[in-house]
Symmetry: D2
Subunit: 215 residues, 4 copies
């Protein structure tokens, strides 16, 4: 996962890990995780297991944010994307398609669910403001798809000032080739792409710090 020309150009430095993490789980909603429900889905059982490891590790450390794409039943809020991706109109807010996959360890009393309408979790949502108000300095990223909403969210994360750490085992795509290619781009320019074990090793010692103030 290394692009030699970019390294020669002075890209591919290393983001410092932080001490005030947040976890962003992108679009693990049933339309993307249940092939029986929607053509948008892909098999992601292993990735959900890895994501649960991250969720569990984040408890008492910092906020966990889930996003789901969802639209008004009248379709008025899809925007230009409707022409390109007509299937998005099936993601009606309030329907099963927009429910977070029940295999994930969501805690409704603490976690934040953000509904979004475009690719990036930062677009048309209060996410950048909330991360700033929490003084987050490391954004751990899981979700789907690697080449779509994950990539778009990761680019925005570093643009908005939050160092993204993409956990390889916790992101998923319908296409293996695009999955691999987007990991290269993200590692070259925008993020640290890390293994689950390495991420857990970064998070674990943070529990010894004074607990994060409730957000």
């Amino acid at each position: 996962m290394f692009d030699e020309k970019n390294a020669a150009s002075g890209f591919s430095g290393t983001l410092k890990s932080g001490v005030r993490p947040a976890l962003l789980v992108v679009d693990y909603q049933r339309a993307f995780t249940e092939p029986a429900l929607s053509p948008l889905a892909s098999e992601c059982e292993a990735q959900l297991v890895a994501t649960n490891r991250l969720i569990d590790a984040m408890r008492d450390l910092g906020p966990v944010v889930f996003t789901a794409a969802g639209y008004d039943a009248n379709g008025s809020d899809i925007g230009v994307w409707k022409q390109k991706n007509g299937v998005l109109a099936t993601l009606k807010r309030g329907s099963a398609h927009c429910e977070i996959d029940p295999r994930l360890h969501v805690d409704p009393a603490k976690d934040l669910l953000l509904l979004k309408t475009q690719a990036s979790a930062f677009f048309g949502t209060p996410l950048p403001a909330l991360l700033a108000s929490w003084h987050v300095d490391m954004l751990v990223v899981a979700g789907t798809t690697t080449s779509g909403c994950v990539r778009a969210s990761v680019v925005d994360a570093i643009q908005f000032g939050f160092a993204p750490f993409v956990v390889e085992e916790a992101v998923c795509d319908r296409s293996e080739a695009q999955h691999a290619s987007n990991l290269i781009d993200m590692q070259s320019k925008y993020a640290e792409v890390v293994k689950l074990g390495a991420m857990l090793d970064i998070l674990e010692p943070l529990h010894a710090r004074s607990p994060a103030s409730a957000f």
Copy 2:
């Protein structure tokens, strides 16, 4: 409603009216319109009547967008505003506090309802993108409060490239003094503050044009 010093400074020009209008109705949700329900409310019967005149005039002309402020029951998405305005935590999404006032002529099959968390209707919502995708060139504004979410939305409207027309009889505030002062600021720098009759006279002839393509 005129600030002589600003006029002498070269402010207070006149925005051209457009031919592709949208109507923005800010926060006429029950918490702000029913004094029996919430301390946030003020009497606004006359303003709702005026707003309905605008809604009716917009049918077949362009999109009608309603906003409501609303938060997760766990309070995780209020941000720094929670410290300043603790009462906002009462605006739980899905509760009566966030329902659009039933006196308004909402058409769920066509209209867009945007939930927002901050003052501006443009902040943390897809509104700027949707207005751009509809090629809106005149944003008619109604809502509450004049000194709060209306003013914040109007400033963002012109910043995002959409000429705002604030209809005086259709905006409302808890304080008469702040209502009047904010109309002066908006007229001086950011918007046309117009009478309901004048706005209806602008909208009426647009019906003779070819109908706006469905959005």
Copy 3:
């Protein structure tokens, strides 16, 4: 500076002061500070003196950001504001109109100058991202005009997650009435409006903390 109806509504809480401050100095550029140069200006000698007290207090504590409004000589980037405020076209980038007032204690080796095109210092600039990357938790605000770019920036500050502290002696307006009215709105809903002495008392003890990491 108190709005009783808002207090009764549960607004007008108190923002906590922070430990990682930044100072935002809005549009103290020569076109707004030299009446001999531009009709946009007002007398603000006292406000500049107060602002220098803040700048001096911030040295070694955190970033100091100056904004100036400025446009391409061909006028292509003013947007809809051109219709409302034609005089803005005089603010050509690179001209004397856009220079920060030389009375201010700018340190080019450390400070950030942001050129902006709209009212809010957060609009169309990387300011929200930079404040997030510095983990700012208190935004001290000076500048002009209170009813224009200061108010717009303060509303955006709290929306973007940064608690704004407006220093009364360091903000300026062409109109006394609008100055006073906007301080009421900001104190009621969006900010702490504080006296210069009180702000210096908040900043002074922060020097005893470990120095802020260079940004």
Copy 4:
């Protein structure tokens, strides 16, 4: 350039071409176009020739916008990206590294130059507001790099409501593999990737329409 799994999922529809185009030329500044000047550059003579064909075709049709990445000499505005891409600090505003390549047909009397600090041309700039104020309905895209600032700008274009048309011969990357992979992603989800000849065929008939009002 086709991703079968995405097509089966209902992605890969077709964006309608518009009648109010703008041309966005991303980062064809000397640091990216002159290998003798910077390790960031790649050979792009053919792409610049194609871009000039687009610029010439756009004259009297609509706005042409050039972006360049550039930073304060003191490095205060790079944000988190500084850690990942240290080489960006060489792009000092006002230096040769930030000048638009002189081979391009820039018209300073009409064109807009936007300085940006992050990957997307829409991030921290007034671009979305200006495109909205011009009522743009088709954004023609040229520039570099395909996998970096072009991709980031294209994703934001459709998010902000402007249908992006990426001209294959006019975009450039240091890596052939990443260039190809990103064209697939853009065509699948966010844009029309079109040949130069096809784009010119779309633009040419628009000259017969009444001329676009000056912006």
